[in-house]
């Protein structure tokens, strides 16, 4: 599947490249001991600059999803699943990804785990059934 890749910078590089070493890295704030996402140079909660990527378990739960049927580009011909997954490390810690399972097998509450798919210098965090 063709992908439009993100442009990397000092703030988002860890998230998109953690998969090179098999790690899902989420931004952590030492100041208030919370994860936050998307990553950035400052904690949006306590404004601390003491922030850095930290490895999480890679487990997650599907909190909502959709099956895309429309061929937005000529090579997107098969239905696929887009989901928002929440990580067990912290309530509300979540991001959007794909669940790579048959489209009729995905449901809200489904337990999934991260797998990485490399495209150039980006390791996309995707999810499969756990």
């Amino acid at each position: 599947m063709q992908r439009k890749l993100p442009a990397l910078n000092a703030d988002n590089r860890a998230f998109w490249q953690g998969g090179e070493h098999g790690c899902l890295l989420m931004h952590w704030c030492d100041g208030c001991a919370n994860y936050f996402h998307p990553p950035g140079p400052i904690c949006p909660k306590c404004a601390s600059f003491s922030v850095h990527p930290r490895e999480v378990s890679g487990k997650a739960t599907v909190i909502s999803f959709t099956i895309n049927y429309q061929s937005w580009t000529p090579d997107l011909t098969e239905p696929f699943v887009i989901a928002i997954v929440e990580l067990p490390e912290q309530p509300g810690l979540r991001f959007l990804s794909n669940v790579q399972e048959p489209v009729d097998q995905v449901y809200i509450g489904m337990h999934v785990r991260v797998v990485f798919e490399q495209h150039e210098d980006v390791w996309l965090p995707l999810f499969v059934k756990d």
Binding site: K4, P6, P38, T66, W72, I82, F95
Partner: protein, 396 residues
Amino acid sequence: MSTRLYEKEVAITGIGQSEVARPSQLSGMRLTVDACLEAIADAGLERGDIDGIACWPGDNNNGDSFSPVGPYALKNALGLEVNWFGGGYEGPGPLAGIINGAMAVASGLCRHVLVFRTITESSSRIVNRQASALTNKTTGRDSSFAWQWYTPFNVLSAVNLMAIYAQRHFHEYGTTSEQLAQIALTCRKHAQLNPKAVYRSPMTMDDYMQSRMISSPLRMFDCDVHCDASTAIILSRKDAAKDTRHPPIRIEAIGSALNQPWSWDQISLTEGTAFDVGKMMWNRTDLKPKDVQSAQLYDGFSILTMIWLEALGLCPRGESGRFVEGGHRISLSGQLPLNTNGGQLSGGRTHGLGYLHEACLQLWGRAGERQIAKHQVAVTAAGGGPLGGSLLLVKE
């Protein structure tokens, strides 16, 4: 209330709209000029009276069909001499031009602000079917603040994000496709009485249920229809509005809040910013949701209309499915006539200002065959996810 609420000093005094076509043979600028001159004349004003221009999202310096004309170009085309003008995407949704323009009037920078919204997405899609795809927002790698978190996962249209909201709404509240269908069916019914609407042929529940699934649970008829059109609104200072033609429609309260992250996936999936917006709007007025007599609520995707109904307190949280069931309450003769011109689902994706235009037509009693009972209080809201703004309107 002791705080001065400045929006109450602003009135809508004129409205205009170009043809709504799929596609139009006219340029985006010609559509804009048609809408603006109609609005100026409708207010009983002349070009020289206009001393401000506002629009959302403005010209992004790329001729994008989502917003092909901005304030610079319009100023030149109409030879306007202005004290203040502004465009730009970053604001509380498609009503941001109105909200900015109202602030310019209320602060005394201008007496009469021309607000407009032009869109030529129908023409652009004839040239390139993928003209609206999110991947076309940036060339090469995605460096955009918002979209880099979605395009790598092949979210290539906003419909995918709205579908995720809809799925969560179904899950939490038991909302069904048959209930969601009532937004599309009601809009189509109303569009049949609107000579400018894009889609006017009757639609049945079967037609809806059999329409192509785009991104589950949203079907083709849950998505609005591209068109080429421009809409214009004149905002005037209350004292200046005395000289205009129609009874002024006062902006009773604005909702423009965003208390959550500006993000399509970090924001509440069942609320977006709409609940923040609604709370702010009702905090700025003594009127209550039960006073609202007509509603023009964003239906770029049908699920968003449902969320607005709840967010503005027009029905209880999670109850929008049951509220619209059968379509009676939201029909032209129902307790809350909704999207009386066919909305964007059938009327055409005029994107934001079309709702306000229709709200004014209805308040002034100028809506022709689709005119609802005489009334004084209307609400309009536009946007979805982190984008959202609302206006409570009172006809004097």
